[in-house]
Amino acid sequence: MLQVVCVKQVPDTETRVKIAGDGRTLDPAGVTWIINPYDEFAIEAALQLKEKLGAGEVVVLSLGGAGVQTTIRSALAMGADRAIHLKTDTVAPDPLSVARALAAAIRDLDPGLVWLGKQAVDDDAAQVGPMLAEMLGRPCATMAVSFELDGQTAKVAREVEGGQELVELPLPAVITADKGLNQPRFASLKGIMAAKKKPIEERPADLGTPALEVVSLELPASRAAGRIVGEGVAAVPELVRVLREEAKVI
């Protein structure tokens, strides 16, 4: 079975955000780029399934500028077989445009499973997975924390409010991965060496017309400085008093 894993390059979660001169995008200066953490769970799930089935192919699909190839290589180093890079110079395209471009590439591949992270930790949109499902007309389970394949049926537990929703979906399907699905492997030295030789096919990304217009990107209003109520147990009565009388939250 062919599986596609969509991966996105994002700023490291340690990044202190600075705004670019246009007032609408992230200043990329000094940013360390990493693979979206949720995408690592998606890659791991696809690799584990391939290993279990003892056959098949895992294809990495990523959209972005030339710089995303380092992220693609790290996905290949984990064990994916090959990659398709949908090239664009557009900075931070909106999720609908991205989903359109990914869907076009996925249709050609006709995979049994399409994997994504539940959201990217840059724009936190959580849109592309369910958009792909709608565009491809395939069943979808978002925010998977467990996965099992039983014949041609995927059994997934989804992290929802108040518990885990159990879902069964027939293949071909789209699944987005949440933390807890698995423990992503580290790339071995052998894997990193092998990744250098794995093919990355480049294609232009067809993003279409933008569906969102970014008006501004700003740093959040900083919180007013708080105060230390006191030290140790002696501070407790005063803490309770301010929570009741000043903050009025208890």
Binding site: T13, E14, T15, R16, V17, I19, L26, P95, L96, V121, D123, D124, A125, A126, Q127, V128, P130, M131, E134, M135, G137, P139, C140, T142, E159, V160, E161, G163, E165, L166, E168, L169, P170, K179, G180, P210, A211, L212, E213, V215, S216, L217, P220, R223, G226, R227, I228, V229, G230, E231, G232, V233, A235, V236, L239, V240, V242, L243, V249, I250
Partner: protein, 323 residues
């Protein structure tokens, strides 16, 4: 401007996040004009007429046997039909796990943009502008919508619900077309249901524990304070990664972003990824033995001290208060 609101139900109950979305639609309608229409997907009417009080003038009920639980393609077909029937120029969804999934499907179906997990909406010269935290709240983005309808999902607890101001709304059946025989995801049950406990993202009060709690066995301290306050339990990434607490409780950049009215951080130093997930809380309390911990920079009230002494004393005080 006609506004459509998706009303989420679970187990035959309209969820409170739906009322929050209705409340915001009512406020927007005051500047953009109305009417406000609701749409609900369900197997049977979950008492929708009562939502007139919460702001809906009319509610379209998309009824289908399979709609007791979430069905992505089916719900999306119904909401798209409701957009057409109501002539909506804006569609609001709760940014719940269901709402985020559905909103993206509807956006793809209609070929329009969606602003996810918004914390504010405004009418800027007749056009809708959505404010949404990005980079786990390390920055705030404002977006506008080139095409109509504009779609937005609203972060739970960021918008106030309207209660009891209006009249019962008219509930009408919604006609929609959808092929239920196509391959689809079927909900087969729920696991690990926390017996009526409120979810982190929808909790009014959250008590979170970090590495300072020193081990999973000591989390009873955190749980007891949360119980006394009527809140939910959260955790830092360190303790989730150590396996002390389940993933669902993680607050921060690779966990949940929360905005409760009270957030109590116990033994949490305040890594940037954690702060990103909770700084939009209304009131933050930090209890930590290290007076230089970064958490004190965002806390409204701090107590420097041994959490093993301070937390039980605080729990006791709160219990006395609530008698």
């Amino acid at each position: 401007m006609s506004i459509l609101v998706f009303l989420e139900q679970r187990d035959g109950q309209v969820r409170s996040v739906s009322r929050e979305a209705l409340g915001e639609a009512t406020r927007l309608a005051a500047s953009l004009g109305g009417p406000v229409t609701g749409v609900c997907c369900a197997a049977s009417d979950p008492g929708l007429a009562a939502l007139g009080d919460a702001g809906a003038e009319k509610i379209l009920l998309a009824k289908h046997d399979t709609f007791a639980t979430y069905d992505g393609a089916g719900y999306a077909a119904a909401v798209a039909a409701a957009v057409k029937a109501s002539g909506a120029k804006a569609v609001l969804f709760p940014a719940s796990s269901l709402g985020k999934d559905l909103a993206a499907r509807v956006a793809a179906k209609l070929g329009v943009g969606l602003a996810s997990d918004c914390t504010a909406l405004s009418a800027d010269g007749g056009r809708l502008v959505a404010t949404r935290p990005v980079f786990a709240s390390k920055a705030v983005q404002k977006v506008a919508f080139p095409a109509s309808p504009a779609l937005a999902s609203l972060r739970p607890k960021a918008f106030a619900a309207v209660e009891g101001a209006g009249k019962p709304g008219a509930v009408e059946p919604l006609a929609f077309e959808w092929d239920a025989s196509a391959p689809r995801a079927k909900v087969t049950g729920m696991a690990g249901a926390k017996g009526g406990k409120v979810d982190l993202t929808e909790a009014e009060i959250i008590v979170s524990g970090g590495r300072g709690v020193k081990g999973p066995e000591h989390f009873t301290l955190v749980e007891q304070l949360a119980d006394a306050l009527g809140g939910a339990v959260g955790a830092s990434r360190a303790v989730v990664d150590a396996g002390w607490r389940p993933h669902g409780e993680q607050v921060g950049q690779t966990g949940k972003t929360v905005s409760p009215k009270l957030y109590v951080a116990i033994g949490i130093s305040g890594a940037i990824q954690h702060l990103a997930g909770m700084t939009s809380s209304r009131c933050i309390v930090a209890i930590n033995k290290d007076p230089d911990a970064p958490i004190f920079k965002v806390a409204d009230y701090g107590v420097v001290g041994d959490l093993f002494e301070v937390v039980p004393a605080l729990t006791e005080e709160v219990r006395k208060l609530h008698g």
